[in-house]
């Protein structure tokens, strides 16, 4: 559990930066090298590499084995886990029960 929470913290921390989100958006279209990732940004490759390390540590990005290119790839798992975590307990039930109010209204009308 602690490990999971730590991983979620890492995911949220990684997603908190706009450059890293842009990198993920780019990787969502397919894998890319550091050079290709750096191109649209006004940033050096070492600066991009630094962001990639954060994303890798959070498990959001993996690197290929090819020693020359080492292409980066988006990993879906932690993002999915974070999304599910974000549908909070309170939101889940308050929104569900609003719908139940409407349903119970219909059912009670049908009875009378």
């Amino acid at each position: 559990m602690v490990a999971t929470l730590e991983r979620l913290d890492a995911t949220f921390a990684a997603l908190a930066d706009p450059t890293r989100r842009a990198i993920l958006s780019r990787l969502a279209k397919g894998e890319a090298t550091v050079k290709e990732l750096a191109a649209p940004f006004d940033m050096t490759q070492p600066a991009i590499s630094k962001h990639l390390k954060v994303l890798e540590r959070a498990g959001l990005v993996s690197r290929g084995r090819d020693a020359q290119r080492r292409p980066c790839r988006l990993e879906a798992g932690p993002l999915r886990e974070a999304t599910e975590w974000l549908v909070g307990y309170r939101q889940f039930w308050s929104e569900s029960y609003e719908r139940l109010d409407a349903l119970l209204g219909e059912l009670t009308e049908g009875q009378s």
Binding site: M1, V2, T4, L5, L8, F12, L15, A16, P18, R21, L24, S25, L27, A28, K29, R73, L74, E75, A76, G77, L79, R80, E81, T83, E84, W85, L86, V87, G88, Y89, R90, Q91, F92, W93, S94, E95, S96, Y97, R99, L100, D101, A102, L103, L104, G105, L107, T108
Partner: protein
């Protein structure tokens, strides 16, 4: 609706409904009715199986924004229609909760308010540890952060595709 921590491992939720408790009980146990309300905005209960007897299981699969799935399942530990449901519950798709089963007790009390039957629902969810309880209670708090994310939907949508490719 009130949601509060109780003791070390519980979350207690109370909510009033303007309906007799028989209907509230049915709405919590009949798949055709569950499909019409269970799940937050943007989510749909696409699969729902209920074996309503002590020792029987239930299995819900919700489909959310961008096709994200959430699977919940459990086993009924005690049933007393129309006033009490006791069940285990685990969230299969959420890694954080899959291994941590909660025991959820729902109690329905009916009373009259201005001659109309009203039902007070009290749900007590007991988690295996305080840490899990606190994590569940604080889930959703990060929403403010996420709402600012540009194109997160696109990332998630494509991420699922990438996930499938990785899996094969």
């Amino acid at each position: 609706m009130r949601i509060e921590p109780h003791g070390e491992r519980d979350i207690v939720m109370t909510r009033e409904f303007a309906a007799p408790r028989r209907l509230v009980f049915d709405a919590h146990t009949r798949p055709d009715l569950l499909a019409r309300w269970y799940g937050p905005h943007g989510w749909r209960l696409e699969h729902c199986e209920v074996d309503l007897r002590v020792g029987g299981g239930w299995h819900y699969r919700l489909r959310g924004p961008e096709g994200v799935a959430m699977t919940l399942r459990g086993t009924y530990l005690d049933l007393a229609a129309p006033e009490r449901i006791v069940t285990t519950e685990s969230n299969v798709d959420c890694e954080a909760r899959a291994a941590h089963e909660a025991v959820v007790t729902t109690v329905l009390v009916e009373h009259e308010r201005r001659t109309l039957p009203t039902t007070l629902l009290t749900t007590t969810a007991r988690f295996p540890t305080r840490a899990v309880r606190d994590a569940v209670l604080s889930s959703g708090m990060e929403r403010g952060v996420v709402q600012g994310f540009e194109r997160l939907d696109a990332v998630l949508a494509a991420g699922r595709v990438a996930g499938r490719i990785t899996a094969t």
